[in-house]
């Protein structure tokens, strides 16, 4: 049955005994999916927690008697928040908070494993650090122009990240994720009792909450663009590469 689906040409490298290396190593594949599960749980439960008080403040404190920095124009799950809506959403804070913090542990522990492995194995240097030549204005522009033309992904793109991907992944891994964990911890009264600087340098506990919200939005935007780009460049192949590690070289962008 497999023979009728796979043309001899597509299996040629394997038949010739030239086993292709995995596109993504097992460490990347496993930590990628653990992070995906943790992030989706954090996102859903984060929204649930947010709707119990969809107002944001700057500084140390804020409550319904103080002016907000801004409000999210949605109904709330608690009746003492003045939202302008005549009804209250179902309150899901209890399990959302349990799951939010458990998922945060999964994200942080997975992140530590990934970071340690990434430095140790040379993954960051080899796969994510852009080549100096690729950072010139001209080189960057040519990749941007390629994207703006919706040019199909090349064979090379199936095996290596282009400079925009590299910069984006580095930004997400080394800026956004650390920042979202930091601002999350800065809201914990027991954590900041031991490390007060974690919240003080952010300008206060409500500032930490507000920054946490914006960083989460950036991470969610990244997720959307990431999934769209995966779809545009061949969803099946890219998913297979991240699940099994294999790349179907001749079926790129069908």
């Amino acid at each position: 049955m497999a023979d009728s689906v796979w043309s001899p040409a597509s299996t040629a490298p394997a038949q010739a005994g030239a086993v292709l290396p995995a596109r993504h190593s097992a460490a990347v594949r496993i930590t990628h999916w653990l992070t995906a599960v943790a992030f989706l749980a954090l996102l859903v439960t984060g929204v649930e927690i947010l709707i119990s008080h969809p107002r944001f403040y700057w500084g140390e404190t804020g409550n319904v008697l103080t002016p907000p920095l801004f409000k999210i124009p949605i109904p709330a799950s608690r009746d003492m928040v003045p939202t302008g809506y005549g009804y209250v959403l179902p309150d899901q804070n209890g399990w959302s908070r349990y799951l939010h913090f458990q998922s945060a542990w999964l994200l942080v522990l997975t992140g530590f494993v990934y970071l340690a492995w990434g430095f140790f194995s040379g993954h960051f240097r080899r796969d994510l650090l852009p080549a100096r030549a690729d950072l010139s204005g001209r080189a960057l522009w040519s990749v941007v122009a390629q994207h703006l033309r919706f040019a199909p992904a090349s064979q090379d793109d199936a095996w290596s990240y282009n400079v925009l991907q590299r910069l984006t992944y580095l930004f997400v891994i080394f800026i956004l994720f650390p920042l979202v964990v930091w601002t999350g911890l800065a809201m914990s009264p027991a954590f900041v009792s031991a490390v007060p600087a974690a919240v003080n340098v952010l300008g206060g506990q409500q500032s930490a909450r507000t920054i946490h919200f914006f960083v989460s939005i950036l991470l969610t935007l990244f997720l959307f663009v990431h999934v769209i780009m995966v779809s545009l460049s061949g969803f099946g192949n890219r998913m297979r590469a991240m699940i099994t590690g294999r790349v179907g070289t001749d079926r790129e962008r069908v």
């Binding site: 008080h53 140390e60 404190t61 319904v64 003492m80 458990q102 914990s188 009792s193 031991a194």
Partner: protein, 252 residues
């Protein structure tokens, strides 16, 4: 099949075995040193246990941030409470002279204290933040007697591990471990911002723990029980919060 080398298979096996026995050893140690919270079973038990154990190992003695008098919120928010019962109204009309805090359990001298008794204990105050799990907050000065002093007065026995405390409000009770009970900032408060503690903020007596979220700072405090085992209380999850779906340990 042959795509995994023998070395890879052996390595994976060793990693799994080491991870598995590491987890088992960690769970045993956590149980032995009391690092598993009373709501540590269930689907999110691993996350709760990690949080509670990490906090106990790293932050048992750290002090909550204190603020300057100028940072006291001009508009503190008194969260909504259930309408007062007739018993509460009667006590309130008499200026709370009849209010009692009963203490029992693993102590040498079970006793009942009036507000005046508690005011005769050494007074402590701190300007700290009340943080609600919903996300809002305010800063106030809290004035009261350290819970640790009261536990000294009643002669707390060495096997004590938790303090259970209850409100005059029905089904409102919490518990904390001894690290939090003996913590210098844990106060039985009767004053706020250099006045009596208003009823809206939990007066005449409120437990106040600035290192945990607001719902652990139980209002209208009426009794304490010192215990070595939380299984005997309610559904055995440590407090009313887990019974209503919220974490027992609220220091996050």
């Amino acid at each position: 099949m042959s795509k995994y080398s023998r070395r890879q298979i052996i390595t994976a096996g060793l990693v799994t075995a080491a991870g598995g026995s590491g987890l088992a050893a960690a769970a045993m140690l956590a149980r032995r040193y009391g690092l598993i919270p009373p709501d540590g079973a269930g689907l999110c038990g691993p996350g709760e246990t990690l949080t509670y154990a990490a906090q106990r190992l790293l932050t048992s003695h750290s002090l909550a941030r204190e603020f300057s008098p100028s940072q006291i919120s001009k508009k503190p928010f008194a969260n909504e409470v259930a309408p007062p019962t007739d018993a509460f109204k009667r006590l309130q009309q008499a200026g709370f002279v009849g209010w009692r805090l009963a203490v029992d359990g693993l102590i040498a001298h079970p006793a009942t204290f009036s507000i005046a008794d508690i005011k005769s204990f050494p007074q402590r105050s701190h300007i700290t933040m009340v943080q609600c799990e919903e996300g809002w907050s305010y800063i106030a000065e809290w004035i009261g007697a350290p819970l640790s002093h009261l536990l000294d007065v009643v002669g707390t026995l060495p096997q004590a591990r938790y303090v259970v405390y209850r409100s005059i409000e029905r089904d409102t009770w919490e518990s904390i471990d001894m690290a939090d009970a003996l913590h210098p900032q844990t106060l039985i408060t009767y004053g706020m911002n250099s006045g009596d503690l208003p009823v809206g903020f939990g007066g005449p007596l409120r437990m106040r723990l600035p290192r945990q979220l607001g719902y652990k700072s139980v209002k209208f405090l009426t009794s304490l029980t010192v215990t070595d085992n939380l299984k005997k209380f309610g559904k055995g999850l440590g407090s009313a919060s887990p019974e209503g779906g919220y974490a027992w340990y609220a220091g996050i």
